[in-house]
């Protein structure tokens, strides 16, 4: 067997042994098999392609043929310890909803996204004035499955907006071992080809106690909602 893909190696490092894992977009089941074999995980996959699903079943892996855009809603809350979404978020119809669902059905999510803010992308667009075609994102604009590309900063903002906490974060480049990174580091949005994030929900903020109205007709000022760094976009 060839060396384990760098993002799989990093995921294997992050996942606790014996945990329950859902791999969304599990392909032919390489990661599921690694998780089962190396980590003793109770691993289940969700995969769109019928060929890949059959391949997974033939390998004895538990996989549901389905669509991450539609089928996450049918899993119960906290059914898994980890939900994994490997370089797929940018292909989903509603990434915001998907990300939120991942952290409903699992305690933690491992999400990797290609960084459209990588210097190669920026140079390509600046220099040629065309949609970038790179090793990380090789398809021409008219056939790419990537319909919701983002930069690392965009992703971090979305996570923040959804009330998610980044527990760990690594930069991935083709063929190189994962490198831990500071998600707030300005340079990383230029340097990291792909970002891999371990996410969990921030502790629910305690709702502010509404003061009792002791003064009859007098109207009390309404409590302000939680402050947001950026306006939520719908």
């Amino acid at each position: 067997m060839t060396a384990v893909r760098e993002d799989f190696a990093e995921i294997l490092r992050l996942v606790r042994p014996g945990s329950r894992v859902l791999d969304v977009g599990c392909g032919g089941g390489e990661l599921l098999e690694l998780l089962t074999r190396e980590k003793g995980a109770d691993a289940q996959g969700l995969e769109l392609s019928p060929e890949n699903v059959s391949a997974c079943l033939a390998r004895g892996l538990a996989v549901v043929q389905g669509d991450g855009d539609r089928d996450l809603d049918h899993f119960p809350t906290r059914a898994f310890d980890y939900a994994i979404l490997s370089k797929t978020l940018q292909q989903m119809r509603d990434p915001r909803h998907a990300l939120s669902e991942l952290l409903r059905i699992a305690e933690q999510a491992v999400v990797s996204v290609p960084n459209f803010g990588h210097w190669k992308m920026r140079l390509y667009l600046l220099g040629r004035g065309r949609m970038p075609e790179t090793k990380a994102l090789p398809d021409p604009w008219w056939s790419t499955p990537n319909i919701h590309l983002c930069t690392l900063r965009d992703f971090i903002d979305l996570a923040d907006d959804l009330g998610l906490r980044i527990d760990a974060c690594a930069a991935l480049s083709n063929g190189k071992p994962a490198r831990a990174m500071d998600p707030k580091g300005v340079l990383e949005n230029w340097r990291a080809e792909t970002g891999l994030f371990l996410l969990s929900r921030r502790a629910e903020p305690q709702p502010e106690a509404t003061p009792r109205n002791l003064f009859g007709e007098v109207e009390l000022p309404k409590a302000e909602g939680p402050k947001r760094t950026r306006k939520a976009r719908k």
Binding site: L57, V63, H74
Partner: protein
Amino acid sequence: MAPAAKTSPEIETGGGVWRFPAGQPLRLDSGASLSPLEVAYKTYGHLNADKSNAVLVCHALTGDQHLASQHPVTGKPGWWDRVVGPSLALDPDRYFVICANVVGGCMGTTGPASIDPGTGEAYGLAFPVITIADMVRAQAMLVEALGIDTLFAVIGGSMGGMQVVQWAADYPEKLFSAVAIATAARHSAQNIAFHEVGRQAVMADPNWRGGAYLKAGVRPEKGLAVARMAAHITYVSEAALHRKFGRELQRDGLSWGFDADFQVESYLRHQGASFVDRFDANSYLYITRAMDYFDLAGPHGGVLANAFIKARKVKFCVLSFTSDWLYPTVENRAIVRALNAAGCRASFADIVSDKGHDAFLLDEPVFDQALRGFLAAQAQARGLS
């Protein structure tokens, strides 16, 4: 009828008719009970020392216990000898495979053609209406009688798949794994409609005699044949039917009458005619009724997931076929979603096939691989060699 192209290898290891004494009646959903109960079954392979390798296969509407044995009436090979046999997905060297005729059937298990002990004559319409859950209850009695606490797997397609999900709802503690194929958790209006056409065809035959045809020494063969012809259309896809027959004629030129001009007509007539030799008309009424009454969510507050709440330890596999319009992918997927919602581990594949509903009985290598892969992984988890 053409002689069978091949016969099943003799892999049968046992079976017969299990007679439950009068003190052990089958309690039915309708409130009635059936006694004495007889269950006809076949077995393949041997039960291992820790009784952990038993597999129950549930048959479809017109199937029977001759899973991988030559059929005594038609002489044809077993209906699933593509799956059960040496080096196949259900290898008798590894598993102890059981298949029993459903209650209400006509191949040896108590049904409307059996003798009613009260009258000494065939039950006919005095036979109580049965349900899928009743069929499963009778199977559970047989499994227990055979000394088996836990089934390694329960497997079935079509009505067999309905029994599988019913098993999961009623006896989850007795299951290690479950495979439901080309099935649904409830009968749709369209399903019921087709069955109603079939029943009306049977009952419109003057030989049906209000169900008492056996006493009169006749059989409603034409009605049952028409029922089978209509049903058979639902088992195949439009594409498969067209590929097989197109508009091909039986002879040169049209008859300018109502003979079977088209090959597809002749084929359907053959399907109808050969069916009446092996199937009892009243059984057809009772079993189609059981399927129409089937709605697994019903007794669980209308929420299908609730039916599977206690089945979290059971490993499920659901398989559907893209061209099945009788129990389409969406119905199978509904079962998977309910399993997921109940927190059960389920695998699901929608197999690409243009053969229609009957694909699970036909040559579909991807289906074979999926079934084999799932069972092999479960066997490993169960510690079966």
